[in-house]
């Protein structure tokens, strides 16, 4: 589903250059739940933004669903963001002045295929994240956990193959964090591909596989044992 090869990213401000990604390569299969971990400043968000077509790499190759979009024009990348990708941010990024329902329908404004009844679709998406009782509330009238559910429903509304989440539980308490992860798990079990960035080991354990990023490179990859096994393996394999 996702295939990156030798991705590099250099931030330049004046004469100050920061090589954030120094050649990152990995693959994510369809239906896989991959967690990216690493110290603060290791480039996790930078990498996820490139995967999300929000940012362009300076070098390397990125195939999304078989299509090389690193050189594509802005419109093609926008269309791919709309159709193939769903974003979930740490800060939720909801429109403060719009109802939950309207926030969820926002991606439909930019869809290139007919969306049918947008309200009905939004209600279904909200149902999928277990938030049916407050569709007309403003974000400020919702709890953090509820806001993140709205954001996930928004990511789901165009039925994307891939969901990208950057510390989606970072602003939530443990209970809400667990519930959000439950929803993600559900989505993956339903066939979606998920790439999630986190600091939190407990969060990482819900994934199928963990990629460890350090100093701009993938330094470790560990398979996460199924929770049923009840054991933890620290076996890491370099890529």
């Amino acid at each position: 589903m996702i295939e990156v090869d030798g991705l590099t990213r250099l931030y330049r401000r004046g004469t100050l250059e920061t090589q954030v990604l120094k050649g990152v390569s990995f693959r994510v299969r369809r239906g896989e739940f991959v967690v990216i971990m690493g110290r603060s400043g290791s480039g996790k968000s930078t990498l996820l933004n490139i995967l999300g077509l929000l940012d362009r790499p300076d070098g390397g190759r990125y195939l999304l669903d078989g299509a090389d979009l690193s050189g594509a024009d802005d419109d093609a990348r926008s269309a791919a963001r709309n159709r193939k990708l769903g974003f979930v941010f740490q800060q939720f990024h909801l429109l403060e002045r719009a109802s939950a329902l309207r926030n969820v329908t926002l991606p439909l404004l930019y869809a290139e295929q007919d969306s049918g009844d947008s309200t009905e679709r939004a209600e279904r998406a909200l149902q999928a994240v277990g938030l049916t009782h407050r569709p007309r509330h403003l974000p400020s009238e919702l709890s953090g956990g509820e806001q993140q559910r709205v954001a996930i429903a928004r990511a789901l509304i165009n039925d994307p193959a891939v969901i990208l989440a950057d510390e989606p539980t970072g602003n939530l308490d443990a209970q809400n964090g667990r519930e959000i992860l439950e929803i993600f798990r559900h989505l993956v079990d339903g066939g979606r591909t998920l790439v999630l960035v986190t600091h939190d080991r407990a969060v990482a354990e819900r994934g199928d596989r963990v990629l460890v990023l350090d100093d701009g490179r993938i330094v470790g990859e560990e398979a996460v044992p199924t929770p049923a096994a009840g054991t933890r393996s620290d076996a890491a394999g370099a890529v």
């Binding site: 269309a79 974003f87 429109l95 309207r102 991606p107 404004l109």
Partner: protein
């Protein structure tokens, strides 16, 4: 319409609804941003109402006399070159001239003679001085005179030189107060006249003369029984249309020269008044007013446009994260651009609409309450609204371009 186009329209409509919601959330700022445009448009609407009111007054006055009318008057006494003697040329025009003009002119529909003299009219001890006018039934027709009560005199009255009179409302008020004058007898000097009718009110003419302060009698009665003169004071000539007036004036001049001045090669002394010329002069003043209105309108649009531009630029800066989010969710640069242009247009259209409503309300209120003569112009209202909207579209281009230029990730990360 293709399904894709339909979808696109639906999306645009939904986007607009969302934009409206977001704008509505910033009530005060939105109101401030359009206040300049509102006041400007309202001012222009009121000015146009005043201007059109003035123009209507002029039109009504001139039309009271007929806009396709020529009035020929004999000129006052004139010195003839070579022989210094007064020729009584003011006695030159004859009733036959009217017939000749009707016969020979190709552009005249009708012509009629008229005599006038200011005289005292009496009824049972009450006196009033009024203009006694003798003219033919044709003359009544040309000058658009009809009876509000009773009847107008007819050709037979004229032929038989009957002493019948048609009174203007002003004379009726002076002599009879509330009583019905029809059927009563008034006297001019010692001559009794049966009042057969009262004319429809006509107001004042272009120079402020009360057209209703008049007593109309048949032409023959006036010339033979009242004034005893063989000549006439004026000829009224009606053209087919206002457009023919200039040509008709030329024609009439030729005909009269042929009848009077031709032999001696001298210019016949008469004055031709052209109602259309009068109208044009008055219109010139109205046009100066119009230019002022256009100037004010342009200033208002400029001021209003700057207000909206400022607020839109602030809005783009403040909503950078919203723009980043929309981009992240799949908005193309063009979508963002369209959104902000339309928001600007909606703001401006809203301000324009509010201005139109405020202006019409002010003009309507003033017309109801005060002595002002204001005409509410729907054309000005529609134009104000259209100009505001177009202004919004144009003004929106710059903020929209700025918004569309933002990179998704940078915008999303903005404070």
């Amino acid at each position: 319409m293709s399904a894709g186009r339909r979808r696109r329209h639906r999306q645009l409509a939904r986007g607009l609804v969302l934009s409206l919601q977001l704008l509505a959330a910033h009530r005060l700022r939105t109101a401030l941003s359009v206040s300049g445009l509102l006041v400007g448009v309202a001012a222009v609407i009121v000015m146009v109402a005043i201007g059109e009111g003035a123009e209507r007054r002029v039109l009504e006055r001139v039309q009271g006399m007929g806009t396709n009318l020529l009035v020929v008057s004999a000129a006052p006494a004139q010195r003839v070159v070579g022989r210094p003697r007064q020729v009584p040329v003011h006695t030159m025009l004859r009733a036959a001239d009217a017939e000749a003009i009707e016969r020979e002119s190709t552009l005249a529909v009708a012509a009629a003679p008229a005599v006038n003299r200011s005289m005292v009219v009496r009824w049972e001890g009450v006196n009033t001085t009024t203009m006694v006018t003798g003219t033919t039934t044709r003359g009544l027709g040309i000058r658009n005179i009809s009876a509000a009560s009773g009847r107008v005199f007819d050709d037979e009255d004229d032929h038989e030189r009957r002493r019948v009179a048609l009174l203007g409302p002003t004379v009726v008020r002076s002599l009879f107060a509330a009583a019905n004058p029809v059927g009563r007898v008034v006297r001019v000097g010692n001559v009794p006249f049966d009042v057969v009718g009262v004319t429809r009110a006509r107001g004042v003419d272009a120079v402020g003369v009360d057209l209703d302060d008049i007593m109309l009698v048949p032409f023959e009665t006036a010339t033979r029984r009242l004034l005893n003169i063989p000549y006439v004071h004026t000829l009224f000539i009606q053209a087919r249309s206002t457009a023919d007036l200039v040509a008709l004036e030329h024609e009439v001049r030729e005909i009269l020269h042929g009848r009077y001045g031709g032999r001696s090669g001298m210019l016949a002394p008469f004055v031709i008044q052209n109602q259309a010329t009068l109208l044009r002069t008055e219109r010139g003043a109205a046009q100066a007013m119009n230019q002022l209105v256009v100037g004010v309108a342009l200033l208002a649009l400029l001021a209003g446009g700057i207000g909206i531009l400022a607020v839109m630029l602030i809005s783009v800066r403040e909503r950078t994260r919203e723009i980043g989010l929309r981009r992240a969710l799949g908005a193309k640069r063009r979508d963002i651009q369209i959104q902000f242009v339309l928001e600007s247009a909606m703001l401006a259209a809203g301000g324009g609409l509010a201005g139109v409503i405020a202006g019409l309300a002010a003009a309507g209120g003033a017309a109801l309450l005060g002595p002002w003569d204001l005409v509410m112009s729907w054309r000005a209202a529609a134009l104000g609204l259209a100009c505001s909207t177009i202004l919004g579209l144009v003004i929106g281009a710059l903020p929209a371009a700025r918004a569309a230029r933002l990179e998704p990730i940078a915008a999303l990360r903005a404070e």
